[in-house]
Amino acid sequence: MIASLSLILLCQLVGEVAVRALAVPVPGPVVGLVLLLLLLLARDRYPALARGPLGNDGVESASRVMLANLSLLFIPAGVGVVQKLDLLAEHGTAILVILAVSVIVTLLATVATFVAASSLFSREDETP
């Protein structure tokens, strides 16, 4: 468990250092995600890597525990709403309506595009 957590933190650390050193507008943890993915893919090719956190379902089970409780992690930032109560009293209704409409429009536009594109591309695959 500790070795698995260390590997996850290490990936994030390398990611943070890389984005700062290269000054690219990418979040460090996203680079960390790509690194961990590459490690897992490399393990398929080189079985010698399957040891420590990369063996015996180590990093996999640590990640599943974290992702099963993903909602919890947003609570500290969300409680910050208590600092904005005066602003919400003034513009709250407008902000809530705007965010709600925007989220519905975005959900529908994204899912419609995904479904349309996936049926379009799979039809192209079928034609010989």
Partner: protein
Amino acid sequence: MSDNPFSLWVYLSQSPLLWLTVTLVTYAATDAVSLKTRRHPLANPVLHSLWIIGTFLLLTNTSYTTYFAGAQFVHFLLGPATVALAVPLYENRRRVAAAVLPMLVALAVGSLTAIVSVVLLAKAFGLPRDIILSLAPKSVTAGVAMGISESLHADPSLTAVSVILTGIMGAIIVTPLMNFTGITDFRGRGFAAGIAAHGIGTARAFQVDEVAGVFAGIAMSLNALVTSLLVPLAVTYLLR
């Protein structure tokens, strides 16, 4: 033990222990209720934890800074949890590789819709420019959105609030909305949840279906990249 219960409160309310415990206990309780209701959308654990903890802070006259000193240990895990998304992504790599093209098209359309819709609506409602700028990056995960907001000289703390509100609304509405449209492709449903409602939408997607969760995680990560490039362009074009 102190004779004076007030001095005990003064000690505890200044230590991280109390606020970390309050966060975990509240979440454990709201999550148990969510499980009991078989993950009913309105029993969203983030939504209910927020008002319970918020009310508690207001009643005890505790500042957000004091609360956050304890809760930051939980907040910190947002980064490692993003890295951990590599695992479900790896386990579902064949399904993901088969859907790369639809994902990229849906990413472009979804990301643009999220930004343009919120800016145009806020303009139509006549909101002040600094509030519009703070709302623009609301569909990406909190850390990235606050960075974008800062670079636009907007209000990062208002951005964080709008990010969380967007996430909660998306998580509540996604299942009924998708059932209403009759779309049963859980790859697309999850992908939309990740684009529109970042990590809270992704957490919701994992509750409903593992494949939906994986696609939501990818969507959230890709959207963080695209939105940080698109928001500055969109606001200069739309708010001239």
